[in-house]
Subunit: 432 residues, 2 copies
């Protein structure tokens, strides 16, 4: 007899097959009829245990199950009598593989701390499975778009000798006789030499911020995609970002119908976001915010509140470009039309999901970059490799970074970042 | 005028297009004729500068280039007069974007230390580009195979509260008020709860070993794919590994013809490896080694020498299965036919490339696993989440881990691991 995954039972209507999985839930309808929800990672199906069909002995076995028992079930696949595209499993036999006594989740509402301490069990819940499957789609949609557009994967190192952005939020690691290493906060600087080898490159790995922030938007370990492309300037950089994000939206809608429904995600909002993105300048953004009553001043960075105000009237993501140079990193190229601005843009997601991308054209002049690094008291010798990108055949180039979890939050509609990564790490949490 | 990548110029034969890239090399054939090798990450092409065609002024500009200058070149694409599938670029104009003075690599042979200190420039070399492109293919071939076979990406954490294998080779990181965290050596333990959520899962990220080994096979930071599947037992586990590796071989041969040729990789050997793999037991392996004169004793682990002896007569990879329990980790399931053996297998690559996979069926009995952990003095409380996989609906399950760099070494034929990762980290090297 064929063993099949639940996702594939639609191809076996009328046939007798075996499925293996866990008991999500069960209920007694009558003394002769029981319903058991089985899940196996690929999907869920309602198994129908009907005593006259199964016989006394086998029907009795279905009474031994408990929440999250693992089972092997033999049955006939049928079409659900009322629901479209839904199948049922008419049980012939069921055997318990592993019992599960007093499964701790699901009988009542739990607090966040309890769920996080039991994250290894919480991930069995429907919403968590849905979130993790959307994460899978988003990860590979990003890779596919990049791979199809001439980018090569170029893994930047995690153990680095120096800090990319500041030093107060770095995790420090003793490194043999070489002193300290620091866990990478972004692979961007390493991608820049990568373009001189492969033209267009990206990394996509964990990054680390030892930030003492305890919000629904912060993790100490999260996943970041950094992309960098030779001969791409500011405008084209935003164009690539837009195409990529719109590609991700379409992939999620196409691949995760079940998961979006489980999460009650408003798909229409996602579809509407798949249109030409808005571009406003930082200066315009400040005016808009001030008109809306915000007390922000020119030169300030945006907080969550400002990001939400800027996008509340927009169905599509909004680029905020041309920031004052003081507000952004040393490596951004200056706007040729105004030396006080940089050719950088942040992309803000609609529906109050905030920043999902930061990007910019990079400074490609050796002397200008060196001066800026000196002005920031950076140890030039340690960054000579970075400066060398401008010394040996410098080219105009741009790049951007996507925070995977923030993008998954937007796609899935999940407000807390801790639910879109398998094992979240926060300042007060490293278990399990 | 259209700007095209060098890889795509074959589609523009007879047309005038612009390409942007770097000068790989150049030579003067006569006072009227110069050849310039241009590269842009996507490929390389020979540009032909012929004075009567270009005119005096533009021809003079081609004399200003140097090694690794970046340029914009306008020209007409032609078919190489002698070589098949090779194209040339008949220059019309050429402008330097970024000069490159005294490019330090390439004029003479360099030592490993010099090249590693200039890794950011070394990656521009042909062999390094080829290796990194093969790495890209291998990475995504692994993902594709898994995605098509029901596995979900499930990123395991890097910052972990405890050690997966031993503690002497761990990097330790101070973690806020929670004491120390350790950089993950393998995501396997975290994947096991993952199967109870998604059925089949894998991670694919950096792992860290603070090993004081300084060999051509060791990095302190490398990339590992760990896969784990519910309801998969030992034999099927090896079957999945075999299919995956054979899929990778076919993808590399199909996608990286140019790179394999550049590296003078013997493709026939790779093709021959794409056949049914051999399986021998550990006991058989010991006999073979002893017959070959090795002084290995039953119970010993294999070193590089033994791995090479075991595969020297084999065109295909060799599984060595059923190891003595003392030689392997606590979580491996015992062989029901012999309690002293575990249902684990290492996969050894041919052509002296050594171990590329380690895998096993996992112990799924709560009490047996707990006893073994206690016997190894592991802090049970810290691993309760891991034990819980067996407490709530335990299932037979298996998994395996592939070292990305070792697989790329075999595919590319590169003997030193430092050349198959963008920025290698070793005990004496963390720059650049």
């Amino acid at each position: 007899m064929k063993t099949v995954t639940i996702r594939n039972i639609k191809d076996y209507v009328g046939e007798t097959v075996k499925i293996k999985g866990w008991v999500r839930n069960y209920r007694k309808a009558s003394s002769k009829l029981r319903f058991i929800i089985l899940r196996d990672g690929s999907g869920e199906v309602q198994a129908v245990a009907f005593k006259p069909e199964m016989g006394q002995a086998k029907f009795e076995k279905t009474k031994q199950i408990s929440l999250e028992s693992s089972v092997e079930a033999v049955g006939k696949v049928s079409i659900h009598p009322k629901k479209e595209d839904v199948y049922e499993f008419q049980l012939i036999d069921l055997n318990i593989i592993g019992q599960s006594e007093d499964y701790p989740i699901g009988k009542k509402a739990h607090g966040a701390d309890f769920l996080l301490s039991n994250r290894h069990l919480w991930i069995r819940s429907r919403k968590q499975i849905a979130a993790l499957k959307i994460r899978h789609t988003v990860y590979f949609a990003i890779c596919e778009y990049l791979n199809e557009n001439g980018f090569y994967r170029f893994d930047s190192p995690i153990l680095t000798p120096n800090a990319c952005e500041g030093t107060t939020t770095l995790f420090e690691v003793p490194y043999f006789d070489l002193g300290s290493a620091f866990l990478s906060q972004s692979g961007q600087l390493y991608l820049e030499p990568g373009i001189t080898s492969l033209g267009r490159v990206y990394d996509f790995g964990p990054v680390f911020r030892a930030e003492k922030s305890k919000t629904r938007k912060h993790l100490t370990e999260f996943w970041m995609m950094d992309a960098e492309a030779a001969f791409v300037e500011h405008e084209e950089n935003m164009q690539i970002q837009q195409e990529l994000i719109r590609y991700v939206i379409r992939k999620v809608i196409a691949n995760n119908k079940t998961e979006l429904a489980e999460l009650k995600r408003d798909i229409e909002s996602l579809q509407k976001a798949d249109n030409e993105f808005k571009i406003i300048t930082y200066e315009q953004a400040i005016s808009i915010l001030q008109e809306k009553g915000s007390e922000i001043a020119y030169g300030d960075d945006f907080g969550a509140t400002q990001e939400e105000l800027l996008t509340e009237d927009s169905a599509v993501p909004v680029f905020v470009e041309k920031w004052p140079k003081e507000a952004k990193a040393f490596y951004m190229k200056r706007d040729p039309e105004n030396e006080n601005l940089v050719l950088g843009a942040d992309l803000l997601a609609p529906e109050r999901f905030g920043e999902i991308i930061g990007g910019s054209q990079r400074e490609d002049d050796y002397e200008l970059l060196k001066q800026r690094m000196q002005a920031e008291n950076m140890p030039i010798e340690d960054y000579q490799w970075y400066l060398d990108v401008r010394k040996y055949g410098s080219v105009p180039h741009s790049g951007f970074g996507i925070g995977l979890e923030r993008l998954v939050q937007w796609m899935s509609g999940i407000r807390h970042i801790r639910e879109v990564i398998p094992f979240p790490r926060m300042i007060n949490r490293i278990y399990p």
